[in-house]
């Protein structure tokens, strides 16, 4: 009986974590925390959307041009996977525009120049590119916190990630 209950908890934790990875707040909504679901959804989707709008799809979810940013964004898989697919499609469109099959090496100056010129209208430059990267990376990392919180709430029956602090504060306050 206890083993079955532990199994249920694990399944709920995996489900909540996975749902949060796909859509910020979805795991909390599934667990019945509607208010927190709304907070997580808004506080993670907003910076992600702003970052993507400032950085542009082409480079913001492109592991070839910015692998570390992509890695940080993987925290919000439900947004980053479609963005990656769209980014690759846009990259192919740029290559078609200049009649190339793959991004050229910088050594081939003519091809590289034409390629970068075609690419430029979809690219973000300083200062927007800096702000975009900070927003996107922060959104991805914040969703990791949201995933941990959803897992914690699924395992403890509604207590947050840092529930030990919360319980200690309540004991000190006598509540």
């Amino acid at each position: 009986m206890t083993v079955a209950r532990e199994g249920d908890k694990t399944a709920r934790a995996i489900g909540a974590g996975l749902l949060t990875w796909i859509l910020p707040g979805a795991g909390h909504l599934w667990l019945g925390h509607r208010g927190l679901a709304l907070v997580f959804f808004a506080a993670i989707s907003l910076p992600y959307g702003v970052g993507m709008a400032l950085g542009g799809l082409l480079d913001s979810a492109n592991p070839r041009t910015n692998p570390w940013l992509c890695l940080a964004e993987v925290g919000v898989g439900g947004y980053t996977i479609p963005a990656y697919v769209a980014s690759q499609s846009l990259e192919r469109r740029v290559l078609q525009e200049v009649g190339l099959r793959a991004p050229p090496d910088q050594a081939f100056r003519d091809d590289y120049g034409r390629y970068m010129e075609a690419r430029a209208k979809y690219m973000s430059f300083y200062p927007e590119s800096d702000v975009a990267q900070i927003y996107l990376a922060t959104a991805g990392l914040l969703n990791l916190l949201a995933i941990l919180d959803a897992i914690s709430r699924a395992q403890t029956g509604g207590l947050p990630t840092y529930h030990r602090e919360l319980l200690a504060a309540q004991r000190e306050g006598g509540t």
Binding site: L36, P47, A53, L54, S129, I134, T138, T161
Partner: protein
């Protein structure tokens, strides 16, 4: 129709990057700090109802802390220019 227009507008924003107005870069800190404060606080409360004041306090702590760090760096910069 309105939905489709909205979706196309959003897609255009994402394909062609938006530009920030001059001087807006520093102010972009505030919404991001608000989001960080909200998520940080959400991982420390039982329900969303306990969040508002704690989030405001966290938001102010981060903004004031970062402002103090900026001032400290500026003072160090001035000192370096004057004495070295």
């Amino acid at each position: 129709m309105t939905g489709l227009t909205g979706a196309l507008t959003i897609a255009t924003w994402l394909v062609q990057p938006l530009h920030l107005p001059t001087g807006a870069r520093l102010w972009m800190l505030l919404p991001l700090v608000a989001c960080v404060a909200a998520v940080y606080r959400a991982t420390r409360v039982r329900t969303a109802g306990e969040m508002p004041w704690a989030t405001v306090r966290t938001f102010l702590s981060i903004v004031v802390g970062m402002a103090l760090i900026a001032v400290a760096f500026y003072v160090v910069h001035l000192a370096a220019r004057r004495f070295f």
